[in-house]
């Protein structure tokens, strides 16, 4: 048998094509309500991107980090200031540079990972969450000395064309997410990803194979923060359309952590599944509350039920399927293809028996 060299198998290319057709052709044709774009699809793409960032550091490199929202804030405010002060950079240029600024913070706050691990590292990385938000609040310069506390995000202009409708913004998010997802997949499947996973699974052995722990961990934190930074910028400019540090509080960090764990640690598609689940589940629960119980259940109770179910699911997944929903999806596909195969065999047998 010839070994597989290619990064992409035929199946991957088909998956990519299906996703692209769905997101570029099917969704814009069939979904016309603005609500879906502004409240579901755009935040889904942004948060999925941030979750990929969390996956890199936590799922692949095995470093418990809890500060994704801090890096998102860094990216968002960097974006605001870049567009404000360096307009020549353009939207895409600003997006990349704000990602890089977030990455610089990632390197800084990733350094403790060399000395502490596990739950202690999680506490150490919380520093990023609080420090970045504090810094933005403390120094007026970051908010351009706006006293109201909430700054309106500038309009998105790419190559002279404004992108202001929900559909246009959706396409901006989709394009950025697609490119960054592909890059993340390349890294995860290539030698870079192998180094991450080697550090995750057995750091001493990795070091004995010549994998530098310092380089690999810092690299993972930087890449993770880059993804979070870009995601944060998109989150502020396409979804919130405003900038306020409060939007990037620790609750958002936890949300991204949940997305990462429920979706499946160490998977890229899990980031999308997890983000979709966490975003859509409250919507579904509300719909059930309104349509089945006709508002008999109070909205506050529904949101409490949501928390209870998330917590329960986290525990269930941690015990029974640590690889999350991505693994469930994989198992389902495998079962379906097995069924398909067995039914094919049956057809073949019956056609053979007919012939004889």
């Amino acid at each position: 048998m010839k070994p597989v060299f290619m990064t992409y198998t035929k199946k991957d290319l088909i998956n990519l094509a299906v996703c692209m057709v769905l997101s570029v052709l099917v969704i814009p044709t069939f979904i016309t309500t603005e609500y879906w774009y502004t409240s579901i699809l755009i935040p889904w793409l942004c948060l999925a991107l941030a979750t990929i960032g969390q996956q890199v550091v936590m799922g692949y490199t095995g470093q418990l980090a809890l500060g994704a929202a801090g890096f998102m804030a860094a990216g968002a405010f960097a974006m605001f200031n870049l567009i404000l002060r360096v307009p020549d950079l353009g939207f895409v240029g600003s997006l990349i540079v704000s990602g890089l600024i977030a990455a610089a913070f990632g390197i800084l706050f990733g350094l403790p990972s060399l000395k502490v691990r596990g739950i202690y590292l999680m506490v150490a990385t919380l520093a990023s969450q609080f420090f970045i938000i504090w810094m933005i609040d403390k120094f007026g310069w970051f908010k351009n000395y706006d006293s109201s506390g909430i700054i309106t995000a500038q309009d998105i202009v790419i190559l002279g064309k404004p992108f202001t409708t929900p559909l246009a913004m959706y396409f901006v998010c989709l394009a950025v997410t697609t490119v960054l997802t592909l890059l993340a997949m390349n890294m995860a499947r290539g030698s870079t990803g192998r180094n991450w996973m080697a550090v995750r699974d057995m750091d001493i052995a990795a070091e004995s194979m010549g994998v530098s722990l310092l380089k690999t961990k810092v690299q993972a934190f930087a890449i993770s923060a880059f993804y979070c930074g870009v995601a944060g910028a998109l989150f502020a400019f396409c979804y919130l359309k405003s900038l306020e540090p409060v939007a990037f509080d620790i609750k958002l960090s936890f949300k991204i952590l949940f997305m990462c764990i429920l979706g499946g640690l160490g998977t890229i598609n899990g980031a999308f599944i997890g983000a979709a689940f966490i975003l859509l589940f409250p919507v579904l629960l509300n719909a059930v509350g309104n349509n089945v119980f006709h508002g008999a259940i109070d909205a506050t109770i529904i949101s409490s039920i949501e928390q209870v179910i998330f917590g329960g699911l986290m525990i269930i997944f941690m015990i029974y399927e640590p690889l999350g929903m991505a693994k469930l999806w994989e198992n389902l596909k495998q079962k379906l293809s097995l069924k398909l195969q067995s039914s094919n065999v049956k057809n073949l047998k019956s056609s053979l028996s007919k012939k004889s």
């Binding site: 390349n186 030698s191 192998r194 699974d201 001493i204 070091e207 010549g210």
Partner: protein, 264 residues
């Protein structure tokens, strides 16, 4: 049985000089010196707790000995870390298995190709042609090792799901993938049955014979040790009590005492 070796045993490649290591008040190794010659199979034996694994950990840089030095190709290495030793061409396996459990067999062995991977993460992200070329070379080499170790049928299985004997084989494969000049094997045959042991011996001898890789191994099975090693060093209570060919060791009264106990 005497046979003509392709790689004649040469000069000392690795020298351990007066190493002393203690953990708090417990002395693991005391003033130990020995050397390893190029292309030889060198065994380190001794009763449990004699300091054999600690010795390998000192050579490999996982432990920092309080005294003594390690020289590689006649050069004293001042600041040993596992990473530096890997770059100098020294690879190893671990006593209690240190595989990347959630990765496939192939991926584990590919990690061993790390030092032959020069492309950085940006190039990998963009999948530049040179990344693909390098990846193909590394994969070819890994596949070669996999077929050499006769583990083709499990190459896509996550290592954590494999039985112990196979995991030991994968770990040897990962060490081989580095193309190191010297490989330290910490109890490569522990927990194996006779057949698996025979296989493992065959692989070790074959690698030594065909590639000239210097092998340093810790082993408890005396039959195996006496069969495959060129020279044996015996440790007891962290000290060298015997050093020589298998025949010399078997005739060494101190060694016999250490293993069988002395009448008082």
């Amino acid at each position: 049985m005497e046979y003509e070796r392709k790689f004649k045993i040469g000069k000392p490649i690795l020298e351990v000089n007066n190493i002393s290591l203690s953990f708090g008040g417990v002395k693991a190794i005391t003033d130990t010196s020995f050397n390893v010659l190029e292309h030889e199979v060198r065994a380190i034996i001794g009763p449990n707790g004699a300091g054999k694994s600690s010795m390998l950990n000192c050579i490999n840089g996982i432990y920092k000995p309080q005294q003594g030095t390690v020289s590689f190709r006649g050069q004293q290495i001042p600041n040993i870390t596992p990473n530096i030793m890997a770059q100098m061409g020294l690879s190893r396996t671990f006593q209690n298995l240190a595989l990347f459990k959630r990765m496939s067999v192939l991926d584990n062995i590919l990690v061993g190709r790390k030092l032959h991977t020069k492309t950085n993460f940006l190039e990998v992200a963009l999948q530049l042609p040179k990344v693909k070329k390098e990846e193909k070379l590394n994969r070819d080499r890994s596949e070669e090792i996999i077929s050499f170790l006769e583990i083709e049928d499990i190459k896509d299985t996550p290592v954590g799901k494999l039985p112990y004997g196979l995991q030991k084989k994968v770990e040897l494969g990962r060490a081989l993938a580095t193309d190191s000049t010297i490989i330290l094997l910490d109890e490569p045959m522990a927990g194996m049955n006779v057949e698996e042991k025979r296989d493992m011996c065959r692989f070790i001898l074959k690698v030594n014979d065909e590639l000239g890789t210097t092998m340093v191994l810790i082993e408890h099975d005396m039959g195996v040790v006496m069969d495959i090693s060129d020279r044996v060093v015996v440790l007891d209570y962290g000290k060298v009590i015997g050093d020589g060919t298998p025949d010399e060791i078997m005739a060494n009264q101190k060694v016999i005492d250490a293993y069988l106990g002395v009448e008082h």
